[in-house]
């Protein structure tokens, strides 16, 4: 009883430094996959807050990806490290209220950069770690 990725609402927060042409590249995939995929470019993944994840889930996302720069490649030094800690914090929080923490997924882009966000997204959609819609969406 899997849920096809195209049925899922997927939010993708990603570091803009991964793809300087992200504005153009994400529109390609947005056109292809429709409104179920939402992109949220960040100036650095370290700018993410646990609140962003919760608001995404509350708004109906079944899955939320956070894509960061590779290890030691953050131009702001600590951004991707900070991002990792914040997603873990959010995962612990949602687990407390009964939401599967695997609905928040941390992805560290593989070097070398840049990587086109549309290609990266297609790759992410082949490895969805959870089945089914979020409990919130089913209600």
């Amino acid at each position: 009883m899997g849920t096809h990725p195209s049925d899922m609402n997927i939010d993708i927060f990603f570091c803009q430094q991964i793809d300087p042409a992200q504005d153009l590249n994400r529109r390609v995939i947005e056109k292809e996959l429709g409104p179920r995929i939402k992109f949220f470019p960040l100036p650095c993944s370290g700018r993410i807050e646990p609140l962003h994840f919760l608001r995404a889930l509350e708004s109906g996302a079944d899955l939320v990806f956070l894509v960061t720069c590779p290890e030691k490649a953050c131009r702001y030094q600590q951004g991707n490290t900070r991002a990792r800690k914040r997603i873990h914090y959010a995962q612990d929080l949602i687990q407390e209220i009964g939401i599967d923490p695997e609905r928040l997924v941390l992805v560290m882009a593989r070097p070398p950069l840049p990587q086109a966000i549309d290609r990266l997204t297609r790759e992410l959609l082949t490895r969805i770690p959870v089945k089914g819609h979020s409990l919130l969406r089913r209600l």
Partner: protein
């Protein structure tokens, strides 16, 4: 600053369970600094509570608001007119703030979302350390500005207990021995002779045993 930590969600959910309409109020002061009760944490908690309510088919409506401080009437007054629209207020303030709000709005339950912990400093982002017990008789200048009441596990006034190991406390090896720190600092600043004075025990009546304390400044009053 006063530090606090959010209560376990389970406890908060149990507290709010009788209510369907809740005003969630944060505080922009100490608890914002220790990432427990500021605007961000207020939004985070509200979102979590709304999602939990939806998943358990419970009706819950929340509104979020953050006051500059919840312990000063002029800021609490901003809730006037708003509070009556809700069945309860979930306060992300320290215990002082929760009670101050309750005094202004005694007709509505004010629920504490945080556990107030200690007076401390922000040592670095994400790390807060206790360094004051509010004893009411500050003499830190005699001890190289390191409080032996707060930072010595045995609250010794006249030298180390002798049980420290490698500069770490015998009671809790994860914390530095306060007396090691005191001696090091006084030695570095050429004030070690201060320790030749024998200091009498603290006057605990300034802190305990007389009920809630107060400070009055007539020149500051209306």
């Amino acid at each position: 600053m006063i530090t606090a930590e959010r209560k376990p969600l389970e406890e908060i959910i149990a507290m709010i369970s009788p209510y369907r309409k809740i005003l969630v109020v944060g505080c922009g002061s100490c608890v914002a600094e220790c990432a427990a009760g500021g605007e961000r944490e207020t939004g985070l908690l509200s979102s979590a509570l709304r999602m939990e309510a939806r998943m358990t088919s419970r009706e819950l409506e929340t509104r979020e608001m953050t006051l500059e401080r919840q312990c000063v009437y002029e800021f609490i007054d901003q809730l006037t007119g708003l509070v009556d629209q809700y069945e309860a207020v979930l306060s992300l303030a320290c215990g002082a703030g929760v009670q101050a709000v309750a005094e202004v709005f005694p007709q509505i339950p004010i629920l504490p979302a945080l556990n107030t912990t200690f007076l401390g400093q922000t040592k670095e982002p994400g790390l807060w350390l206790e360094n004051c017990r509010g004893c009411g008789h500050c003499r830190v200048h005699l001890f190289g500005d390191i409080c032996p009441i707060t930072r010595c596990a045995k609250q010794l006034f006249n030298g180390p207990c002798g049980g420290s190991k490698n500069g770490q406390c015998e009671v809790d090896p994860e914390i530095p021995c306060a007396w090691q720190l005191i001696v090091d600092r006084l030695e570095k600043s050429g004030r070690l002779s201060q320790l030749e004075t024998v200091y009498p025990p603290a006057d605990w009546s300034r802190q305990q045993g007389t009920g809630p304390r107060k400070i009055i400044r007539e020149d500051q009053r209306n």
